[in-house]
Symmetry: C2
Subunit: 345 residues, 2 copies
């Protein structure tokens, strides 16, 4: 997401987040330090994360003709909410690295990492309180909080299903999509719908932008799944452990299991047999089987369909030209659309 229109907004979001994580008491500095580290906001080190969800919120608010500065507390809340789930996900998945750096739990231990995530969750709620100083009516702020909390329940439900899948052998593409729409789609939907809640008291706009966010999220997740298997290390930042090494049964794998002959399915079962990290030879053979079943083409078509629906909904709901154009660029870049991917990468 380079390029100055995104950069200035990311800087404003990060400024809002930093303000929430600044605390005077010396004995508590390391507590907030863990959060700043996770967010890549410690000192001068390179930033981790693309701030995709808060950008989605801020730009949607602008696309509705509103001033970006007023919505920053909501954008910060969404980024903190997302990142608290990442701190916990990294423990739950035992992932040692994220964005080329050791994860919080692998530096400070699981106990401190669980607790730092909990603290970040509470701070995401205090972020929303800052909307009161920006002149939003209390009823709207409560509506936004209800949306965020319902979303968080959905995300946790999705994560429950995802963890359950590890010990299940009957994960269908339908079940996988039900999981992903909760775990990823719900927060994208909330980022766009949340902007609508604050900007306009219009149920139709709200519904359209929720659908926009949901379609965007589904395209993003499917693209992320594709990149997790076929993406180069450079683009995903996941050089150490791609999804196959981690034994993650993402959409391409689930589809391959569904479509494979009994013989090939037995091969896949065997190749996924060892504990993570899977040996490179297994990873290579699984990828070869995925290529043979041709699942990737179908997923790429789905991504395109979700993306086009997302953009159609966006243009039907939004008015302000510059922000709408930026949102379109964001959607295209984050879902791997060929023409724009290199420009905004």
């Amino acid at each position: 997401m380079a390029g100055s229109p995104f950069d200035t907004r990311v800087a404003a979001i990060d400024e809002e987040v930093r303000a929430l994580l600044s605390h005077g008491e010396p004995s508590l500095q390391p507590f907030y330090g863990m959060m700043l580290y996770h967010l890549g906001l410690d000192a001068e080190r390179p930033r981790g994360g693309k701030r995709l969800r808060p950008l989605l919120c801020a730009l949607t608010f602008e696309a509705l003709g509103q001033e970006e500065a007023r919505v920053l507390p909501a954008a910060a809340a969404i980024e903190l909410l997302h990142n608290f789930t990442l701190i916990h996900d990294d423990i739950e998945d035992q992932d040692p690295r994220r964005h080329h750096r050791p994860t919080v739990w692998s530096v400070w231990g699981e106990a401190q990492a669980i607790n730092a995530g909990d603290g970040m969750y509470a701070l995401s709620r205090l972020a929303v309180q800052r909307l009161r100083e920006r002149g939003f009516p209390a009823e709207r702020i409560l509506d936004l909080l209800a949306l965020l909390d319902q979303t968080c329940v959905r995300v946790c439900e999705g994560q429950f299903l995802d963890i359950s899948f590890e010990t299940r052998t009957d994960v269908t593409a339908e079940r996988y999509r039900a999981m992903a729409s909760r775990k990823t789609g719900a927060l994208f939907a909330a980022a766009a719908e949340g902007a609508a809640v604050l900007a306009a008291d219009d149920a139709a706009v709200r519904g359209r932008l929720r659908a926009f966010g949901m379609e965007f999220g589904e395209a993003f997740q499917a693209h992320d799944d594709v990149m997790g298997i076929w993406g180069s290390a450079d683009r995903t930042g996941k050089v150490e452990m791609n999804d196959l090494v981690k034994r993650k049964k993402t959409l391409p794998v689930v589809l391959a299991f569904e479509r494979a002959s009994p013989k090939v399915r037995a091969q896949l079962d065997e190749l996924f047999g060892p504990p993570a990290p899977l040996p490179q030879a297994n990873v290579d053979r699984i990828r070869a089987i995925l290529d043979e079943t041709g699942v990737r083409d179908g997923i790429e078509r789905d991504i395109e369909a979700h993306r086009e629906r997302a953009l159609g909904l966006l243009h039907a709901a939004a008015g302000a030209r510059e922000a709408t154009d930026l949102l379109e660029r964001l959607v295209r870049a984050a879902t791997g659309a060929p023409a724009e991917a290199s420009a905004a990468a």
Copy 2:
């Protein structure tokens, strides 16, 4: 907390909690099932937990002349908030049992337990939303949410300090109290202050009831620390692992370290040397040293002072007789006051 005036209120609180944890979708039943299990609300099994904090909230609201039914969503929110921290604490401390049952993480694994705690946290916020149907103004509900979220940040700060203490040798009684006032005191204070936020737009009442909750919390925590070392298994339900077995350096231990001669301090260091669970011989010798230093008497006097200040603040702020009397009983019973302990145990 037997005796019917408490029982009927606990039943009403549990009813409100159950309503929040009831979900139709079969694939998600086990997710909510973990939460119901932790709360002792699964099927007909005996309840775990005394519902002390939600009772404090509900009775304080009544003591201000209000109708209990209206405040139940706030009481449920406080109970869910407290219990989400317990689910995570049990993982962080690697405690295998609570209330005579295996802990959530030891039944379903750490990943699911972290996530179930996160879900319960989000549900505690949705509980507060239910106050909107009870006719409270949006501004007051937002004030309550701000209070709960600030409290949750304080609780996490306290937990950060508590975990840090495990690897520190310089924990003073002052540092210990700063930790405990965050980890325990803050939520007691919020339970009472939250009732005031909803019942009255009066800063003085709010401040007095916050101070009441804080004093109550400090007395409770100190009493809990005493029981964790000298209490019989029957009373605390912690037969498997008392605090010394777990190597927990609670207030009595911290005070003994401060007061002991260099020679005795070296003995204590050695006795606390092995990893948890400490051998029974070490536990017995540590307890003998604690008895010799006489720390317990001083703590008991502190508990009494906190309790008396709490009750003074309560009577200065509250009006309704029955609820105020019940609160006094609750405070006395939960802090081990001799006269009432057996009656309300």
